[in-house]
Amino acid sequence: MHIRLILLIILLVGFVTPSLAEIASNSSEVVANTETTLTPAPELKRSDYPNMGFSSRSVVWILAQMHLFFAAFVLAVPIFVLVIEFIGFKYKDDRYDDMAHEFMKISITAYSITALFGGSLAFALFLLYPQFMAYMMRVFNTQTLVYAGLFFAESALLYIYYYGWNAMRYGEAKWGHLTIGLLLNAVGTTLLVVANSWATFMMAPSGINEVGAVTGSIWEIMKGPLWNPLNLHRVLANIAFGGAVVGAYAAYKFLSAKTMAEKAHYDWMGYTSNFIAVLAFLPLPFAGYWLMAEIYAYSQQMGITAMGGILAWLFVVQAILIGTILLSANYYLWSGMSRCEGSERYTWMIKYIALVLIVGFLIWVTPHTLILTPSEVATLGGSHHHTLGPLGIMPAKNIAVNLMLIATFLSFQLYRRSDKVITVSWAKAGNALMVAIYVIAIANIIFAGVYYGYFTNTVYKVGSSVMQVASTLIVIIGGVIIDTLMFKNAKTLPSTWGKVNNFSQYALFALPVAFTWLMALMGYVRSSVRTNWHVYTVMKDNSPENYIPAIGHAGNMMTIATVLFLLIIVFIFWIASLSNTKQVPEVDNASNC
């Protein structure tokens, strides 16, 4: 019966999805043939913006940020849940299945909150920025209905996936459940990329002429130059963020656990969450490079506004946040090595990894192009500091970030090796190869950064980062392949889940706090590079708040959003725990007599 139900759903989704796509496609053709498409974007006056007596931008800012936080979380969790579920199914290990189900329990409560913030955001936008929303509706037309339709599909699949978990847990039915999970992720990712197209259209519009009149199909409008870079960046960032949030849940449960069994379960869950968060985080800077490179290619002005202009100080804060993330993730791994006595072979390396992370962090926070007052320029003796100035430019930061990523991967590798005694005959050669890969990659990263960064012109500076990224990726991919081969028939040493200090769990709280703040910060940058345009180059923002706010004000807004998110997440954790609580009926002594 379950199989038939699943087939029916697949048929329905298969039927509905092309139909919606067809509607969007047909409608864009119809629209393209009518005169309305030649209407330019409106030129707004200040009086076109309703004055409600409060800051319209602040209201939209908080609502949009909250919606994005929760949307990122609920779209990301099913991605790694599906992978964990599949691992559990393949290796017939119920622990994985239970953990995946528990992750979904947290996500499902967040889903309705996502919708609540999404609806509130839409109302706020239509109320406070009616002309802008009218223009966006004109441009995206019935694509917005496709989005709504996908939301229905997402909801249906999510509820079936979660509530059907135990009903489709074993045998053939599990394949059906995994298929639903796959469809859920396909629809979820489509929702994400559709919503991304609105944001990237505002930054780098396409499918319209120079006055904002629609001239292209909906596909041409969506497929702007920044769409795919942002899609990749957001998918990775969402997974890292989702992993970090469920890691905090595991840490909270670990700290509250009453029994050793509970501690062991949530310790393992926390470790898995941290693994997911860091695994998705490692390639994130490279996705960020791609996005920034495309921004520069689209508009050098926009790129410089982000990286070297008024927003330059902000990257100091970004460095502090990413430093917090890397240090927390590494500290958690180092603490976790105490679960296994075999880790003593590697603990001597921790201090060197920590040194690389701290030096890399300090280089990363060294600012470069800053907006300075004349007296500050005079004090510095120029626009850059004599000694520290060279550390402020991108080549130095590229060296720092690549070495920090390699150091983090090394922590991971050491952790994974802690409970193993390698038995393959070529163990020595394998280790030598691994060391050689590290040495060559590190030498290449430093050489490319120093030589191309300081002794050649700008074009080569940018090109050198590709060599550095390739070196880092070779270490990560090479390390995973070599370890996988070397772990064959390896002797496993005993390790005790739950045997980890409580301090390490706070690293699992630092991760989501830093991730959340970081997401808000990068949203502020992404939005600010449009300067005083709703839609860059075609629709000016003439509202009273059309300026880029100072970092302090923006920081306060980010904190409000982060604290609100944290409080709601704690509520979600509580709700998730509540469902496991069952009241024991009171014994009626009187009736017993």
Binding site: E210, Q300, G308, L566
Partner: protein, 274 residues
């Protein structure tokens, strides 16, 4: 202490650390350009060049790339009249400009016609410029504004300005004698009184309705100083310090004030002090 209190305290504490860092950094707002009404017939060559400089530093966003960072030729460090002449003589030059003014205009309106070696878009072999066309969005300089920028680029190294000053007849796009431009600065004061208030003169000087002993009395300044001395005391206040007063007057009025505002203030002080 309950776990929930500990983890919330830790998380909120960390959030506050990030907030504190953001608030400790220098606070700079990115002001959107404000609309400003100017009278094209009221320009002097000096004020027209000053407008060009404002546009170069502000709305034109030229200094984002044209600086000493190596992203684009450093226009402020180059003599643009000599440089333009050399470029027009370059065998790679495919444009139609015959003189410096035309070359500078062409480079702003069709930046890819001639790309300085090493400054082209990546992979274009210096055939495509990353520079936006300045009369299109997002910069949107008007013809008058482009002319002002050219005048600035010619004048900054002491070269002859060949751009004709705008006239009422030369601006047919407006129905009145005034046109609107966008500048990243407050609108120009319309009267001398407004200028005196806008530049904070009334804070230290007795003038208009205010009494202040910090600086010399401006109501009678015309009886002590000539027109040129009054002008000098505003644009270069430390040249001569009035006896008995501290040397605390701001020295950047030459940069902040428009020529017309300076003229209005000087004339007002002369007239009211007679």
């Amino acid at each position: 202490m309950p776990v929930i209190v500990k983890v919330l305290g830790f998380s909120l504490g960390l959030t506050l650390v990030f907030t504190l860092i953001a608030n400790l950094l220098p606070q700079v707002e990115g002001e959107a350009p404000v609309e400003k009404i100017i009278d094209p017939s009221a320009f002097t060559e000096e004020s027209f060049i000053a407008l060009g400089e404002e546009l170069f530093q502000g709305k034109g966003t030229c200094t984002l790339c044209h600086n000493n960072m190596g992203r684009a030729p450093d226009i402020l460090a180059l003599n643009m009249v000599e440089t333009s002449t050399e470029r027009m003589a370059d065998s790679r030059y495919q444009g139609s400009a015959k003189d410096v003014e035309a070359y500078l205009r062409e480079s702003m309106l069709q930046p890819s016609i001639y790309v300085v070696q090493g400054f082209g878009k990546k992979g274009s072999n210096d055939t495509e410029s990353p520079m936006p066309t300045v009369d299109k969005a997002p910069i949107q300089l008007s013809e008058l504004e482009i002319n002002a920028v050219i005048a600035f680029m010619q004048a900054k190294d002491g070269n002859l300005v060949t751009v004709a000053l705008p006239t009422e007849e030369a601006t047919p796009t407006t129905s009145q004698s005034e046109i609107t431009i966008q500048i990243n600065e407050p609108a120009m004061a319309k009267t001398a009184e407004a200028a005196l208030v806008q530049f904070g003169c009334t804070v230290c000087h007795s003038v208009l309705e205010t009494e202040s002993p910090v600086g010399p009395d401006l109501r009678t300044v015309a009886s002590r100083l000539s027109v040129e001395e009054i002008r000098q005391s505003i644009v270069d206040p430390n040249a001569v310090i009035a006896e008995g007063f501290p040397p605390i007057m701001p020295t950047d009025f030459a940069e902040k004030m428009k020529v017309k505002e300076l003229d209005m203030i000087v004339q007002f002080l002369v007239d009211s002090g007679k």
